[in-house]
């Protein structure tokens, strides 16, 4: 294999690709060719690095010099200075907020340095379409170890001891799931990888598949070996992830070519094959029973059964379903041992599988933080560490208000709980959940009622409509929230919302309905005064709910600074602004549609919003 002096790792994760990272790559190659450096420098496209907010990214290895927010026009300088002259370009490096000096090395940037990579261990390091890269980084070594030197029971015990719990949302102990599935007598069993990542803003699974598909395959194979009698594996990927589907297919092909998938793997009696199934984009198909009915070819709706899928799942056969991130965690546990894994995280799982949260969790950090992207952190880290250290604090120096975790059906956690350690139990206790690992940070400009409405609208639209509480109930909740945010709310609505939420949580058929009211319940719990402001005073404290705002013109400002420019009048769609040029304008409140256009167009800050 050819070796190079320098390797330029161009991030080809979704965030960077949409920021034109492929154009960066082409420009790099062009420049390198121009300087005749082809023998010295190699351009590699990698999976997502996680620091999506700073994309497009290029990391120059082996030194790990990190360049961010690159533009094609920056490339000639970068190549000439760094590659040719050996002088890293400071102005293209990352500068932490409120600081002056750039941090050249990736490993020194807090966003990266405070993370602990297990699931994302290969991120930015390998070409996902090349199995050799994965093998070079220790890939399939765990599989070899399992097949050569471990019995299925030993594998199972190792996973149990590690304390690994499902990363898809429920946090069910993986070892127990495998063990139950193994115990059920059947000649035909299935393993499924749930890659139907539907939470808006969550893309950790996508990032793993697109960046490191073999780690999922290896995890599934180890699981299949431990459970035994598995005839097939399915990977259920949502249609919206074409690149993930492509990379999975490439990975499966390559693994088959290398004899790592198929019959008599490593010359043992272990046979295993994986098929990729595409989901049609229904959020509810991320629910395990709905996912299985979808694979079976039926409309993706959850089943109303109290028989667990490990007993009767896909085609009524015992089925072990785990999420992408869970599967990815399996090979490192085998290689490094359960003790290593359980040393990370909280609690004690030696006697009670539910007794703690072990290992790491990937979060997609979004919202009003400075560093948005994917972060992998050890369980037990506080929200404050994630938001303020890794995330670099709130944007524009605003005040932190709340963080919402666990995807659209997670709850809101207020500022006074920011030192909460992140683990399954703690998050559940405060009314939120681990979920798939969404983390949306909100600042003082966010209206909690509006945010709750936003998330509820998503779950309401994605409800399959099968059971009454979820279908009818979430719609009624949304109607009430619409009323509240448009000033038609009544005081008793808050109690009604609470009552309805509780019934939906208790009586829904699946977890979608069972958790959909969480945003409403937690905001009602922690931000009740905001609701009350909406219904009693008909005011939105964060000035988000436009129907509750009053726009007025500061006449003094308008005349003295803006000289009555009249831009607002021209742009007002409701013709609500009265006034002549060079004179003060004012707004006819009866006509005002509260669109906020005047506020946006006024260059003299003359529009007042209350």
């Amino acid at each position: 294999m050819k070796s190079y002096r320098l390797q330029l790792m161009v991030c080809a994760g979704t965030g960077c690709v949409s920021n034109h990272s492929f154009e960066i790559k082409d420009a790099l190659e062009k420049e390198i060719a121009k300087h005749k450096l082809q023998t010295e420098a190699e351009v590699v496209t990698t999976g997502c690095n996680g620091f999506c907010g700073a994309g497009p990214l290029v990391v120059v290895q082996p030194d790990g010099i990190f360049y961010q927010m690159l533009k094609v026009s920056d490339i000639p300088l970068l190549v000439e200075e760094h590659l040719l002259k050996g002088r890293p370009v400071k102005k293209l490096m990352y500068v932490p907020p409120k600081e002056e000096a750039p941090i050249p090395k990736m490993s020194n940037i807090p966003f990266f340095s405070d993370q602990t990579l297990v699931a994302l261990r290969n991120r930015g390091m390998i070409d996902p379409e090349n199995i050799n890269d994965y093998i070079a980084r220790g890939g399939y070594k765990a599989l070899a170890k399992v097949l050569m030197s471990m019995t299925p029971d030993e594998v199972l015990q190792e996973i149990k001891k590690s304390g690994l719990r499902g990363r898809g949302g429920g946090g069910f102990p993986t070892g127990i799931k495998w063990e139950t599935c193994k115990r059920i007598q059947s000649d035909t069993k299935y393993v499924i990888c749930n890659a139907d990542e539907g939470d808006p803003g969550a893309f950790m699974d996508r990032s793993i598949i697109e960046g490191d598909p073999h780690s999922v395959i290896e995890g599934m194979m180890i699981g299949a070996y431990a459970i035994q009698n598995i005839c097939e594996g399915y990977i259920y990927v949502r249609m919206e992830y074409p690149l993930a589907i492509k990379r999975f297919n490439i990975a499966i092909e390559q693994a088959k070519e290398y004899g790592l998938l198929g019959e008599k793997i490593f010359d043992t009696d272990f046979n295993f094959d994986i098929k990729v199934r595409r989901g049609a984009g229904a959020f509810v198909c991320g629910e395990s029973t709905a996912l299985m009915t979808s694979i079976e070819g039926n409309p993706g709706e959850p089943r109303a059964k109290y028989i667990h899928t490990v007993e009767k799942g896909l085609w009524d056969k015992p089925t072990c379903l785990n999420n992408v991130e869970t599967w990815t965690n399996v090979p490192p546990i085998i290689l490094k041992g359960a003790e290593w894994f359980s040393s990370i995280g909280t609690g004690d799982v030696t006697h009670d599988a539910w007794g703690g949260s072990k290992g790491t969790k990937v979060f997609s950090l979004a919202g009003k933080v400075n560093n948005t992207g994917l972060v992998e952190v050890p369980m037990g880290i506080t929200l404050r560490d994630i938001i303020f250290n890794i995330g670099g604090g709130i944007r524009d120096g605003k005040k932190f208000k709340a963080v919402q975790t666990g995807g659209p059906s997670g709850g809101f956690i207020p500022e006074n709980l920011i030192n909460l350690p992140v683990d399954y139990e703690e998050l559940t206790k405060v009314g939120s959940m681990m979920g798939s690992g969404g983390m949306v940070v909100m600042d003082e400009d966010n209206c909690m009622v509006d945010m709750a409405k936003y998330f509820l609208k998503f779950t309401q639209e994605e409800s399959c409509g099968k059971c009454i509480p979820c279908r009818e109930g979430t719609k009624r909740m949304l109607d009430i929230l619409e009323n509240i945010t448009s000033g038609k709310g009544k005081e008793e609505d808050l109690n009604l919302l609470e009552e309805l939420s509780n019934v939906i949580v208790e009586s829904s058929l699946c977890a979608l309905g069972g958790s959909a009211p969480n945003p409403v319940l937690t905001t009602l719990k922690y931000f009740r005064e905001e609701y009350e402001a909406h219904v009693k005073d008909k005011k939105c404290p964060a000035r988000v709910c436009k129907q509750l705002l009053t726009y007025t013109i500061d006449e003094k400002q308008c005349v003295e600074v803006g000289h009555g420019c009249g831009v607002c009048k021209k742009n007002c769609p409701d013709n609500a602004i009265i006034g002549e040029i060079k004179k003060a304008h004012h707004i006819d409140q009866n006509k005002c549609g509260k669109c906020g256009v005047c506020y946006d167009v006024c260059r003299f800050n003359a529009i007042r919003v209350e």
């Binding site: 229904a282 409800s463 409509g465 279908r471 719609k475 309805l500 509780n502 058929l509």
Partner: protein
């Protein structure tokens, strides 16, 4: 068996029993809206939510599908939490479907009158679809036709046909309409719209039925055309109810060979198809019935319980009975169907007896030929039945009645007073002609018998032997031989039975001596005759190089005798010599 505790009561149930069934056995009511024992619990109405208590943990589950597996499980079906859940759920439904009776009733039984929600999807219809999924489930799990399904997500969910079009895969079993709790799905008879038989009171029948309640033996049968099982392989519910396991879906029509010595053909008759006479409006006009349909209506086990009723349920004011529809008619059958006059009189009597209606008889000739028949006719005349001698030309529906109710106008000629008459009636009964079974010609061929010009089976001799046919051992009785009433049929059938018994008691059958015989000396072994014999009675004797006739197989037709170039075959009773002598004798005078 395990013991569980429901609302404080200890109940013994089999493992895997659902809570709903366990509660039912203990007489505890759990509300359900989407549950049916016909298919796997769907579990979407959530009204059957109950609390289960396992140690210190309380969990809410749906009773319809939660399988009981452990001893000592405590279940609370009516705790405050559960009551609250049910109330809110039914309020959600009631706010959307305020006028659907099942929802209203359920709400009332859960103590909800007015919902506290306002639904933007409010549907005022009384027969609105409440998305309970019963139709979809029964179509998929029971009928196995899998036609119905849900479309759209969330609040927009609706029950649809594939591509929202009528589908040829639908077997029109009506199961969906049967289970629909609100009547949203309706059965619409397309046939009726096309103008086919208005068989309101004869059908629709269930797929399992007893053709008539007086059927002997009274055994139900499965109608293959409408049975779901035969169409899709689904359903099979009847077999789960039949304790003696008498239902066998695999049973097929089969041909059974039975060796018999004698056969009685009593294949009966059929009625003329009334729809070929459009002037009477049968199948097109309401309240125009065939006599058989009217007989069904008169039956106390019939659809009206024996009452004479028009289709709208009212009692007719005037009823007409028209004789000779297709009988004694140059266009259809020239013969008299013989039974109509008397049953028409019986109808008149019963209509008089059960209603206050006027009765009109339209007849050509009154044929009250049997014992006591004429007396009955006289009695009817005394009862005040209007007898109109003349053929009906047309029946028309008239809508301009004084009370707005349509009536039937019968146009006829009264030949006794020589006038054309129009009579307004509410109900008309047609007396269709008796005709031979549609497949009488096939039966005739099978038994080598004959049909008379009217296509009924021909007897050997109309006067001397009206029960046997030209084929030995084959007898006929009843309307297969010609129209006749019950006493005549009984008499003829008894006679045929007696004739057959006499042959059986004889113990042996006298064979016709008419047989062909090969005279060995003359046979040249040309084998022409071998292939001629339709019965394969002639075989070739290889060592003698001559043909030989098996006398038991030979029927004596003489075809071979006539064909033998060597005149080596003679037919006993019909030898060449005998026939030639006959010719000589005949021509000698």
């Amino acid at each position: 068996m395990i013991t569980v505790n429901i609302d404080g009561k200890d109940i013994q149930v089999a493992e895997e029993t659902t809570i709903v069934k366990a509660a039912e056995s203990a007489g505890i009511w759990i509300p359900t809206m989407c549950y049916s024992e016909l298919f796997e619990p769907y579990g979407i109405c959530r009204l059957c939510s109950v609390e289960i208590i396992r140690g210190k943990r309380t969990r809410i589950v749906t009773a319809c599908n939660y399988p009981l597996r452990e001893n000592g499980l405590k279940i609370r079906t009516n705790s405050p939490v559960i009551q609250e859940i049910r109330k809110v759920l039914i309020e959600l439904m009631l706010s959307r479907w305020p006028n659907v009776p099942v929802v209203k009733n359920m709400a009332a039984s859960l103590g909800v009158i007015e919902p506290k929600f306002v639904s933007l999807e409010r549907d005022e219809a009384e027969d609105a679809c409440i998305l309970c999924g019963m139709c979809v489930n029964i179509c998929r799990d029971v009928v196995k036709a899998n036609i119905l399904g849900f479309a759209n997500r969330g609040i927009k969910r609706e029950v649809v046909l594939p591509y929202e079009k009528m589908n040829s895969e639908c077997i029109v079993c009506g199961a969906c309409a049967y289970v629909c709790p609100t009547g949203h799905i309706k059965i619409k008879s397309l046939d009726y719209e096309r103008g086919a038989v208005a068989d309101w009171y004869l059908g629709p029948k269930t797929a399992i039925n007893i053709p008539t309640l007086q059927a002997v033996p009274r055994v139900p049968k499965i109608d293959e055309e409408s049975c779901i099982k035969t169409q899709t392989g689904g359903c099979g519910i009847c077999s789960t109810y039949c304790e003696p396991e008498a239902i066998n879906y695999e049973d097929k029509d089969e041909e059974v060979e039975i060796e018999v010595g004698q056969i009685l053909l009593a294949t009966g008759f059929q009625l003329i198809d009334l729809k070929q006479m459009p002037q009477y409006g049968y199948g097109r006009l309401d309240n125009v019935y065939s006599s058989l349909e009217f007989e069904h209506m008169l039956n106390s086990t019939g659809p009206t319980g024996g009452l004479v009723k028009c289709k709208d349920g009212s009692e007719p004011r005037a009823v007409g009975i028209i004789h000779c529809i297709g009988s004694r008619d140059e266009n259809y059958h020239k013969y008299c169907s013989r039974v109509c006059c008397m049953y028409a009189l019986k109808f008149a009597h019963l209509v008089k007896d059960r209603t206050k209606a006027e009765v009109y008889q339209f007849y050509i000739d009154m044929r009250a030929f049997g014992k006591g028949y004429e007396e009955f006719y006289k009695r009817l005349l005394d009862e005040g039945v209007n007898m109109i001698r003349g053929k009906v030309a047309e029946i028309a529906e008239v809508h301009s009645g004084s009370d707005g109710k349509p009536y039937l106008l019968v146009k006829c000629e009264d030949t006794l007073i020589g006038k054309f008459r129009e009579i307004a009636l509410d109900m008309v009964i047609l007396c269709p002609a008796i005709e031979p079974q549609f497949d009488a010609a096939d039966v005739k061929k099978i038994f080598s018998i004959s049909q008379s010009p009217d296509k009924f089976f021909l007897e050997r001799h109309p006067k001397l032997d009206p029960i046997s046919t030209m084929t030995d051992g084959v007898f006929i009785a009843g309307c297969a031989q010609g129209p006749k009433d019950i006493p005549d049929s009984v008499a003829q059938a008894s006679a045929a039975a007696a004739r057959m018994l006499s042959l059986i008691s004889l113990g042996e059958v006298a064979l016709d001596p008419v047989k062909a015989e090969v005279v060995d000396e003359y046979c040249s072994g040309c084998r022409i005759c071998n292939n001629l014999c339709p019965y394969g009675a002639i075989s070739f004797v290889d060592d003698k190089k001559i043909s030989n006739i098996n006398e038991m197989l030979c029927k004596g037709c003489g075809t071979c005798v006539a064909a033998c170039p060597a005149s080596a075959i003679t037919g006993k009773g019909f030898t060449d010599m005998q026939i030639l002598s006959e010719i000589e004798g005949l021509l000698s005078i």
